[in-house]
Symmetry: C2
Subunit: 110 residues, 2 copies
Amino acid sequence: MPRPYNLPMGYYQRHVFFCLNSREDGSACCACHNAAEMQQHAKARIKALGLNGEGRIRINKSGCLDRCSEGPCVVVYPEGVWYTYVDEHDIDEIVDRHLVKGEVVERLRI
Amino acid sequence: MPRPYNLPMGYYQRHVFFCLNSREDGSACCACHNAAEMQQHAKARIKALGLNGEGRIRINKSGCLDRCSEGPCVVVYPEGVWYTYVDEHDIDEIVDRHLVKGEVVERLRI
């Protein structure tokens, strides 16, 4: 898992935030797009790969990331690469290519 | 506001996540340390400084960052610098020195 940009090692090698925000007014929101289930899917996959924990990868829940109209969205730090997704196949590609191998998945980028 | 490590510009220049996790079993958690109020304080201060929004600074809520025993905790990306805090004076120092000026506040670092 290459470390991007020669950054000093962080507490997590990659820290991923899934927006789980829900809006009650009917406007676009990540929660309407299965975000909670997709976050759990990513977290379980990272754990199954033995890549969770300090020095490795953390899959986090977050509040509104304020890119609602482009969502559902997720951001990977320290790179600051943003993705959208439709289903668990997209999540698997982000996990397997970006989080594990350090490749940006251009087709899902926002 | 200097950009660290020659990273390419992200959607946010700095993206800050406050752990707001609450634990019901009495063990250490960030919510027990006024985390929600401190996140709102930071968010309001950034807005008052006119530094919120795309290309600038986002103060976010997050789920458990999994450093509970060292909390309450907050992480600043893309640098990946982690802090703890006691009260709004600490938050002000993180905002004014790190988020605005790009200086790491060593005394609050975890």
